[in-house]
């Protein structure tokens, strides 16, 4: 903001959040329990060190994306993040059509994550998984309605607990395997086909999904903190996933860890490395980490729903705040969606489709963001090679997304339904918004 002499008041909550907290929040958002399942799928697809290589390629892509998001956030320091960047570069309809499916299909991941938490609660307390999932969603909603937002410090502790517990246990498994002389055999497996490896890289993008949401904290962050935190969070996530992936590679076949319809690999890691007591610790850490992420996500999404309702893209009744500035009706609508999506994922077994659809929409959003970086107001006078590189990365991201679609296997039909629903709803919202804008412009012309 050039020419502005007014600063934020010292001591205000704006401009206080530092790099370390942002790294914790950014990487914590991406370290969802559902990602462990995604990582396990990658391990099953390519195996051994090849899964680490797939994570590495995806990580390097995301490191480049981190630089892109730093630029986008520097030019447009908006908490609304992705939708503002794409809208400013390509227009509002493009912003809604590209970004809304990404956010919408994340809700299916919320349903999936809830079922994993339900599975963990089943392990801890014997509750049926779906009852535990419902309890998790409703409890988080009640806490959000009360106005309690989990602070940065608690989110940091949750992330650190998750990171060190799972990484530590994976290292323990690897050490045990080395002691038994089986490590090389587990890690050095036959090379996968190019198509399988490409699919693995596409799926590995999913593991980093959500890191870019760190930009939504720009309004309360210290200067340059977002720019430092974005690449650092990629580094943290890479270490996390690479180590756990290696830990998964030395696991025996997962017989005894099924909880309902979902196999929870992090429970298997805990069981193998430390027995029942370690399972309890890991389960509690995972539930707590999921809760802190879901609390923040629910409150942020309620504000987004409120904004869409205020624009007329959703029922106007959702654009209401109470005295504590809680968007109560929007939160309730999200509760209903979360419960509905959880039931749909459970009933129709949409586990793989939920992960793949999120990976595909993420690939498209990231590719469009790379292109947005090249356009006003974000583009600088970059040279031919810089532009060519950016276009190549964008094309690679789109190709990865398309590759995941064509290699979806038995999840193809479910995936098609999810993608068509998500993009269809987004296109409808964009059309409604355009019609409303046209009417408003026509009304202004009539008045003048």
């Amino acid at each position: 903001m050039s020419g502005v002499n007014i600063k934020l008041k010292p001591g205000t909550t704006g401009g206080q959040v530092g790099t370390a907290s942002l790294v914790a929040v950014g990487s914590g958002t991406a370290m969802a329990s559902v990602c462990a399942i995604g990582l396990f799928e990658i391990q099953n697809l390519v195996g051994g060190v090849w899964s680490v290589l797939a994570v590495t390629v995806a990580g390097l892509l995301c490191l480049y994306l981190a630089r892109v998001f730093v630029r986008l956030s520097d030019v447009l320091p908006s908490g609304a993040g992705l939708i503002t960047y794409v809208s400013r570069a390509f227009g509002r309809s493009a912003g809604v059509t590209v970004v809304v499916p990404y956010l919408l299909l994340m809700m299916f991941l919320v349903g999936f994550e809830s079922l994993i938490v339900g599975g963990l609660l089943q392990r801890l307390a014997g509750l049926p998984a779906i009852a535990g999932a419902t309890l998790f969603i409703i409890t988080t909603w009640v806490i959000c309605q009360s106005g309690l937002k989990i602070g940065y410090r608690v989110q940091t502790w949750a992330m650190l607990a998750l990171f060190f517990s799972l990484v530590g246990l994976s290292i323990l498994l690897l050490a045990n395997s080395a002691r038994e002389g089986q490590l090389v055999e587990h890690l050095w497996v036959e090379a996968p086909s190019t198509v399988a490896f490409g699919t693995a890289v596409g799926q590995a993008l999913f593991l980093f999904l959500g890191f870019e949401l760190l930009t939504s904290h720009v309004e309360v962050a210290k200067p340059r903190a977002v720019g430092r935190a974005l690449p650092l969070s990629i580094g943290v996530l890479f270490i996390f996933y690479a180590t756990i992936s290696l830990g998964f590679s030395v696991l025996p076949p997962l017989d005894g860890t099924d909880t309902g319809a979902i196999t929870i690999p992090q429970v298997a890691v805990a069981e193998q490395a430390g027995g029942t007591s370690m399972v309890i610790v890991v389960a509690l850490v995972c539930v707590f980490a999921s809760f802190t992420s879901f609390n923040g996500a629910l409150l942020a999404l309620s504000r987004f729903v409120y904004a869409l309702a205020a624009q007329g893209m959703l029922p106007r009744g959702l654009a209401t705040l109470d005295r504590r500035l809680i968007a109560g009706p929007a939160l309730t609508a999200l509760l209903i969606c979360a419960l509905l999506f959880m039931v749909v994922v459970y009933r129709f077994g949409l586990y793989k489709a939920a992960i793949l659809s999120a990976a595909i929409t993420a690939a498209f959003v990231y590719g469009v963001s790379v292109l947005a970086r090249q356009r006003p107001p974000f583009g600088s006078a970059s040279g031919f090679w810089h532009k060519t590189f950016a276009w190549t990365i964008a094309a690679a991201l789109f190709a990865l997304g398309i590759g995941v679609i064509f290699n979806a296997g038995e999840a193809s039909k479910q995936l098609a339904v999810l993608l068509l629903s998500g993009y269809g709803l987004a296109a409808l919202s964009a059309w409604r918004m355009t019609v409303k804008q046209s009417k408003r412009r026509a009304a202004s012309r009539t008045l003048s």
Binding site: V4, I6, E219
Partner: protein, 114 residues
């Protein structure tokens, strides 16, 4: 008096006339700066217990800084748009705690004709 200052005066008068709305925010204190990024004009207002106590006073530090083009700020102050729309599409940015922006946005949304 500039166009934006006049628009702010009218906005504050309309807000104060909505007594129920003012009452809803009677716990709100805030120093707000509205910055027109194209013209460079900055207008300020201070809110105490939900009422605007002063406007146009020099201000070194604010609780909320709202930045947009003059046209967008004028549209908002003249109640043709609420701030969430330009915010969501990158035409308006804010610095400061979310609480202050949400209150401002809610007030404008309530005052805007449906």
């Amino acid at each position: 008096m500039t166009v934006l200052s006049r628009a702010l005066d009218d906005f504050v008068a309309t807000y104060h006339a909505a007594e129920q709305l003012v009452e809803q925010h009677n716990e709100w204190d805030s120093k707000i700066a509205l910055v027109a990024e194209d013209s460079g004009e900055t207008i300020t207002l201070e809110v105490e217990q939900g009422r605007v106590s002063s406007m146009g006073q020099p201000m070194d530090a604010a609780d909320l800084i709202v930045t947009a083009s003059q046209e967008v700020l004028q549209d908002i102050l003249e109640l043709r748009r609420d701030p969430n729309e330009p915010y969501m599409f990158g035409e308006l940015t804010v610095q400061g705690a979310e609480e202050h922006f949400m209150r401002l946005d809610y007030i404008v949304t309530m005052l805007c004709p449906a």
